[in-house]
């Protein structure tokens, strides 16, 4: 429950308000599963849940991508290599990669939601032969707001991964799609009767995406979402993250829509 002080190895600016920190792991046996998060403590300011955004096969560093949204995240992105943060975890449920094996895989992310699914994409690519068609659909605010732009470019060059990107607004010089991320669903190749979808982004985007996937024939036990609710303890003690009958910190953040049975329509209190 007590955070351990960990050294920051590097800080990279991704977007004007978003930075990726590489943090020294607590021990050589530290590992995580795609979709899990840690509680990061900016000393004297506060502690927040942040997903792990790195490659699950690389245990030499904990990679986390943080958007400055308030007091704690502002302090975290202002860190420089050599500074320390408090770290607890990894916590929470993981993207169920087993469920996708032998099937087409659809990964849908919006905005900063690409960070929590990046480990999933990397894990799927690390074991590419286990899956059918793999598609990543990504929606961002504008071409300037594309997270991990270089990596997206690299992934687009692969023959075994389909990457489609859309933005909400663009200048006339943009050659790609403009519109909500769901508009990409009809343009990707997957078998809706058997595919598995993993969705991460703002809640309204996820709700809209779930509706569209259900319309396409996805059953709710093959729809995985990552629910992000405000957290305090991260270990199911305080009730801060309660959503219906779930504590998102330990029952989630990754859940199937079947598990949630409508809970994702409940507003945060």
């Amino acid at each position: 429950m007590r955070p351990t002080a960990r050294r920051i190895l590097s800080v990279e600016r991704e977007l004007p308000d978003t930075y990726t920190l590489e943090i020294e792991p607590p021990g050589s046996d530290w590992s995580f599963l795609p979709g899990q998060y840690t509680m990061l403590y900016a000393f004297g300011i506060g502690e927040v849940p942040i997903s792990i955004s790195g490659d699950p096969s690389d245990a030499t560093r904990i990679v986390q991508t943080i958007r400055a949204a308030g007091a704690v995240t502002d302090a975290l992105v202002a860190k420089v290599p050599g500074d320390f943060v408090g770290l607890r975890g990894p916590y929470g449920t993981a993207w169920d990669t087993k469920a996708g094996e032998g099937r087409d895989v659809l990964i849908i992310a919006g905005g900063i939601g690409l960070a929590p699914v990046r480990p999933l994409v990397l894990d799927v690519l690390n074991h590419r032969d286990r899956y059918g068609n793999v598609t990543l659909l990504y929606g961002a605010r504008s071409p300037r707001d594309l997270l991990f732009a270089d990596q997206l470019q690299e992934w687009r060059g692969r023959f075994d991964l389909e990457v489609l990107i859309t933005v909400d607004q663009a200048e006339q010089t943009w050659r790609g799609p403009v519109g909500v991320v769901t508009s990409l669903i009809g343009r990707s190749s997957f078998d809706p009767d058997a595919a598995v979808a993993y969705v991460c982004g703002p809640e309204v985007m996820m709700r809209f995406t779930i509706q569209e996937l259900e319309r396409k024939g996805f059953s709710d036990d093959r729809l995985y979402v990552s629910m992000e609710r405000n957290m305090k303890c991260g270990i199911g003690l305080c009730g801060h993250c309660q959503l219906g009958r779930f504590f998102i910190c330990k029952d989630g953040p990754v859940m199937t829509c079947a598990q949630m049975a409508g809970s994702c329509w409940i507003r945060e209190v």
């Binding site: 949204a69 006339q172 790609g176 403009v178």
Partner: protein, 153 residues
């Protein structure tokens, strides 16, 4: 004419309609193509047609004094471009720019209306399908307008 029919019967939009109905609609339609960089219609121009994209990409853009030209939405294979032919004042609200070479079916609005009035069941079927497309698009636009990816501060 039969070439247009062959194209239409294979489009998901027309799935479930009888051959006779599709043949009637095909009377208002022609196959057209537009080169990358060309313009299908411009804001303020007279709106007579609607287009069902068979291949290629179209960007709807809006010119504003303050922000220059902005792409509002892009449309792709299987999607319709243009609704302004339906109601007065029959003028386009956007520019439609061709992002990549387009092949499309062009429907003549006034002809389609005439066909619909002559066969109200067909007219209702077409209207229902058009409305579904419009409602889905409007819901998507609402989400787009919410600016969901911004930091709220």
């Amino acid at each position: 004419m039969s070439e247009v029919f062959d194209v239409l019967v294979n489009q998901p939009f027309f799935a479930g309609m009888t051959d006779e109905q599709v043949r009637a609609v095909a009377k208002s339609a022609a196959l057209v193509s537009f080169d990358e960089g060309s313009v299908i219609f411009v804001e303020g121009g007279p709106a007579r047609y609607t287009y069902l994209i068979l291949e290629g990409d179209v960007a709807l853009t809006l010119r504003t004094q303050e922000h220059g030209s902005k792409i509002i939405q892009t449309l792709h294979r299987g999607e319709f471009v243009g609704w302004s032919w339906m109601y007065p004042p029959y003028r386009w609200n956007f520019d439609a720019n061709v992002q990549t070479d387009v092949k499309a079916v062009q429907f003549d609005g006034p002809k389609l209306k005439k066909i619909s009035l002559a066969d109200p069941e067909l007219g209702y079927t077409m209207m229902r399908r058009f409305t579904e497309v419009i409602v889905n698009r409007m819901q998507a636009l609402r989400i787009q307008l919410l600016d969901v990816y911004s930091t709220f501060r």
